[in-house]
């Protein structure tokens, strides 16, 4: 079954400084049958979004199997908008990721409003990290305020995946990316509640081996058609591929 990975990062990892290059990613994509991946930069999401975006722009230019995810930081609106003007309109970039510059601090509507207004014209999805309840609530508020945009909740709320699903049931422009918690009940619960067309696969590389999330979806008590949606069709629909 073909797979599209909407959530991977390349670069040296935080803490350990282990290199995870586009070559490493490509090798893993081949191993797991991933035909395309949307990537951001590890240094872009940890501390320097502009350096990360420039790196990703170089990588995706030469690799047709990779699309960029532009990282923007709410504390740097001018610089974020400069990067949006430079990269967001390119076919090689699939969407933007809103960050607060600090893992664990969620992005709020008040902080994101200006940047999202600037992003309207690009008609590309917005990725938001949602490792917990607080980030889910904040992302849901943003999605309701920008109802014509699609918001992909990376990590699906972590252990709060039930809440993520309930919110997505009510806020129709939310899409859930299924990494995060490995509860065996998560995928079926979400498919039954909101439908597989609202779920997308993301590996969370290089922090999580693809086998873990792929196994979670493959092992779920849902139809093969639903699995195809999660692995590939929902992403194609979301990104217009």
């Amino acid at each position: 079954m073909a797979i599209i990975d909407l959530h991977a990062e390349i670069g040296t990892t935080p803490l350990w400084g282990v290199p995870f290059t586009d070559t490493n990613l490509t090798r893993l994509m081949q191993k797991y049958g991933v035909e395309r991946a949307v990537v951001s930069s590890t240094i872009g999401t940890s501390c320097d979004f502009r350096r990360g975006n420039a790196h990703i722009a170089q990588v995706v230019k030469s690799n047709p199997h990779l699309r960029g995810c532009l990282v923007i930081n709410i504390h740097y609106p001018e610089q974020s908008q400069e990067d949006m003007r430079a990269y967001a309109g390119l076919d090689s970039f699939a969407g933007i990721m809103l960050t607060s510059g600090r893992r664990g601090d969620c992005v709020t509507l008040a902080e994101a409003e200006e940047l999202l207004n600037a992003h309207r014209r690009f008609v590309k999805p917005v990725f938001v990290r949602t490792p917990d309840r607080a980030s889910l609530i904040a992302a849901n508020e943003i999605a309701k305020a920008f109802s014509t945009m699609k918001f992909v909740l990376l990590g699906m709320g972590g252990e709060d995946w039930r809440m993520a699903t309930v919110l997505a049931d009510r806020t129709l422009n939310l899409v859930l990316e299924v990494s995060g918690s490995f509860s065996p009940d998560k995928i079926k619960f979400a498919v039954d509640r909101i439908g597989a067309h609202r779920l997308v696969y993301g590996s969370s590389l290089p922090y999580c081996d693809p086998s873990a999330t792929i196994g979670l979806v493959e092992d779920a008590d849902i139809s093969d058609a639903d699995k195809r949606y999660i692995f590939v069709n929902s992403a194609k629909r979301l990104l217009g591929w």
């Binding site: 400084g17 501390c47 740097y76």
Partner: protein
């Protein structure tokens, strides 16, 4: 009276959590305009992303800006040894090591932190450690144990000065920097308690105003000899002249 000024606590690089403009060129300009002859400087990449990338960046920038003396960092969460890793950093020309337990959220009783201290002790370089919270000086004293390595407690303030003084009375190898000293008379009080030779000037520039930090020292009611020691003499001694 003019003093030779060496700032023991400066940083440059990206700062994603709040808006901050921190290129190394700006640091060099600030040093020059305030009569600071040199500063111990570190890239934020090492604290916020990983120490390997950060140390490379610090060394590169400091080789280009001669008034910046390179400071290395090790994040115990990503340290597996061997001790020769630290030896190599010293051989590359790093003058001091800095550790960021508060920013990186690790405990001072972290086992790998002990390994890092052992390795640094072998190369005889001073270590500056974040210690701005109550409990940090005491925990640091326990972690250092019988090691004789020079330790600079960074960010000591009104709230934990008594604790720092208590530690310093028992640990002759402990020093403090001046970054968080703001209270009128606090520096004079500190000098009375532990002696001027145990205090080193550190501004926190570019995160903090160099002018403000310098003004606090030069305006304080301590003798010129004490000011000279704090502003440059002590750190020169710790660095080996």
């Amino acid at each position: 009276m003019s003093f030779e000024i060496i700032d023991a606590n400066t940083v440059f690089g990206p700062w994603p959590m709040v808006r901050a403009d921190m290129p190394a060129e700006r640091l060099a300009t600030a040093l020059k305009s305030h009569g600071v002859s040199a500063s111990l400087a570190i890239s934020t990449i090492g604290a916020l992303h990983n120490h390997s990338d950060g140390n490379v960046e610090t060394l590169r920038i400091c080789s280009e800006v001669r008034t910046l003396l390179p400071v290395a960092t090790i994040d115990p969460r990503g340290y597996f040894g061997p001790a020769s890793v630290v030896t190599a950093l010293a051989e590359q020309g790093f003058k001091m090591f800095r550790l960021f337990p508060l920013l990186q959220d690790w405990s001072l009783d972290h086992a790998a932190f002990g390994d890092v201290l052992d390795a640094i002790e072998m190369v005889g370089k001073p270590v500056m450690v974040q210690a701005r919270q109550t409990g940090c000086p005491s925990a640091m004293a326990r972690s250092v144990g019988s090691r004789t390595i020079p330790i600079i407690l960074e960010g000591i303030s009104y709230e934990n000065m008594a604790e720092a003084v208590s530690v310093m009375r028992n640990k002759p190898n402990f020093f403090v920097d001046t970054r968080e000293l703001r209270v009128p008379g606090a520096l004079r009080f500190l000098v009375d308690q532990v002696g001027a030779e145990r205090v080193v000037f550190g501004s926190g520039c570019l995160r903090n105003s160099l002018a403000s930090a310098l003004g606090y020292i030069t305006d304080s009611e301590i003798g010129d000899e004490a000011k000279a020691a704090i502003l440059g003499g002590n750190i020169k001694r710790l660095l080996g002249g």
